[in-house]
């Protein structure tokens, strides 16, 4: 093979390109945190807190004021009292486990189903109506039935989570796989790629941004599913949903109700943003629109 001198204009052009696109191009170049990023959310937090205190001390009529205990009471009774707090943490841990099992199984099942659907038209045609039916089924109507059949145990709650979380995974995986550019398919066809190679080297990587978007949606839903499941199941260990239900039934435990609600919200937030970070870690380097705020 003979050697060709590198066309130097190619190099110049490329260097110019890189310099120009440096802010998006290099992985090291992160967006800098500005004053607005800190001050904005802090301001909104302060205003919300103000509203809360205003409601606690002035906003509500006097005989209903106990319904909105001020934040420091909530913190004191809910978070600083270790007995109360440890009960809540245990319940939260159980709910977290339910949510993670549910999500994990939903991911494995949903992706497998979507991959099968993408490989054979008849599988897609046969299974898709049921996936849609599952998605549109009012889950609350189904919960008592699941409870009876599965004896209100851990598995029953996981099942509720799976049902609620599986659709975005199936939908996004299938959509992602089906949106692969035809040019890429041609390229693999020219080189006699097997079905497995095509799936592994083209379809799944191409679909990964869509798949991860599905994960994020389903992660939030699985936490919802776990807490909804808690409301209905009164056997076995207590999840945070049951605690919330119990705290709501007595006036003396109202501050704890607030604390437990905040914890449940925090769980949802952490799980959702955890998947946001995971998405960034996997597709952030190459995918155009992966600037998801953590």
């Amino acid at each position: 093979m003979s050697e060709i001198p590198v066309p130097d204009h190619a190099m110049e052009e490329a260097v110019a390109d890189v310099a120009e696109g440096a802010s998006v191009a290099t992985p090291a170049a992160r967006r800098r945190i500005t004053l607005v990023d800190v001050a904005g959310p802090t301001l909104i937090f302060a205003v919300s807190l103000g509203c809360w205190y205003w409601l606690s001390y002035f906003g509500m009529s006097e005989n209903r004021r106990f319904l909105v205990p001020p934040l420091h009471e909530v913190v004191q009774e809910g978070f600083l009292d270790w007995t109360n707090f440890s009960i809540m943490l245990n319940a939260l841990w159980l709910t977290t486990q339910v949510a993670f099992w549910g999500l994990g199984i939903a991911i494995v099942l949903g992706m497998t189903l979507a991959i099968l659907m993408s490989q054979a038209r008849w599988v897609e045609r046969s299974a898709w109506p049921y996936a849609v039916a599952l998605q549109s089924f009012p889950i609350l109507a189904l919960v008592p039935l699941i409870g009876i059949v599965f004896d209100y145990n851990f598995n029953a709650r996981v099942l509720v989570c799976i049902i609620i979380a599986i659709f975005p995974i199936i939908n996004n995986t299938l959509f992602g796989i089906q949106s692969v550019e035809s040019g890429h398919h041609d390229l693999l066809t020219l080189h006699n790629a097997s079905r497995w190679t095509r799936l592994w080297k083209l379809q799944l990587p191409a679909a990964s941004p869509a798949i991860f978007a599905g994960f994020r949606i389903s992660a939030g839903l699985s936490v919802v599913g776990a807490i909804v499941g808690d409301f209905f199941f009164r056997k076995g260990d207590k999840g945070i949903g049951i605690l919330i239900d119990q705290y709501a039934s007595r006036t003396t435990t109202l501050p704890r109700l607030y604390a437990a609600t905040i914890l449940a919200g925090a769980l949802g937030y952490v799980v959702f943003s955890g998947f946001g970070f995971l998405t960034k870690a996997v597709t952030g380097k190459w995918h155009e629109s992966s600037d998801i705020p953590g």
Partner: protein
């Protein structure tokens, strides 16, 4: 007007035969293509590309030029006629760069040896050589999203070069580039052709591009595509950018242009 180099009258059904080593690199024998919806894309197209030739087909948009390449590569079967080419060893440069955005430049260039089961060390050696060839050194770790259109096309060229296919098919690859980038890539492609010695079949609707790179230009008519004119391009390789301003270049371009205008009716 058109040189029909090989006629096999008895074979009308579609078939592909491995090209014998001392024959043409690529040969179309009376190829016609009618799509299931009734669109007649190609009508009785016969021509051949010999080793050491760079043949460009110019024609109006939608005249079936891309269909021709898809048939040549085996992505599509013709309705009748046959194509003789070693399909296992075709390089196909697509209209878009078709890079995989999740792979780096290095990863994209490695793809084809990877699909053919080469080991990692072999792949790296093959990749290194072609990355040098297209001037992508230093960009191995970049992702496609940080590259310009011209650089993406160079990656696409490098990817196609890895296994040194003896036949290259180009499906209007520089159509989306600005003029200067297009000219540079024409110069680089012409240089690759000269040094690598592959046989090239290039599709475009730019006359200067066709005349600058080719040893022969074929003109195709509007749908259904038929070859209507043929021009030999006598300029010596390597061709310098200044060739575009040579009176002979202008004269030949004029002739091609005239034939192409005729092809629109």
């Amino acid at each position: 007007m058109l040189c029909v180099s090989f006629l096999c009258m008895e074979s009308v059904r579609s078939e592909r035969v491995l090209a014998d080593m001392d024959g043409s690199a690529l040969e179309f024998n009376r190829v016609s293509m009618v799509f299931p919806d009734g669109t007649e894309a190609l009508q009785d197209v016969s021509f051949s590309v010999e080793p050491g030739e760079f043949v460009t087909i110019v024609g109006p948009s939608g005249c079936g030029k891309s269909t021709l390449l898809r048939i040549a590569s085996g992505l599509l079967d013709p309705s009748s006629g046959s194509v003789e080419v070693d399909q296992e060893r075709i390089g196909y440069v697509f209209q878009d760069a078709t890079l995989m955005p999740w792979r780096t430049v290095q990863g994209n260039v490695e793809l084809i040896p990877e699909l053919h089961g080469y080991k990692k060390t072999e792949r790296q050696a093959l990749t290194k050589a072609v990355i040098d060839l297209v001037g992508l050194n230093g960009f191995e770790k970049h992702y496609p999203k940080s590259l310009s259109g011209g650089m993406k096309m160079r990656v696409s060229l490098a990817r196609t070069l890895t296994l040194r296919p003896p036949v290259f098919l180009f499906d209007e690859p520089f159509g989306a580039l600005d003029e200067i980038n297009r000219e540079r890539l024409n110069e680089e492609t012409q240089e690759l052709f000269k040094n690598e010695g592959f046989a090239g079949l290039f599709i475009t609707h730019s006359i200067p591009e066709a005349v600058f790179m080719s040893t022969r230009v074929l003109v195709m008519s509007a749908r259904p595509g038929q070859l209507v004119a043929e021009f030999d391009v006598p300029f010596k390789f390597p061709r310098k950018p200044g060739l575009r301003f040579d009176p002979q270049f202008a004269e030949l371009s004029g002739k091609v242009s005239k034939a192409l205008r005729g092809a629109y009716t």
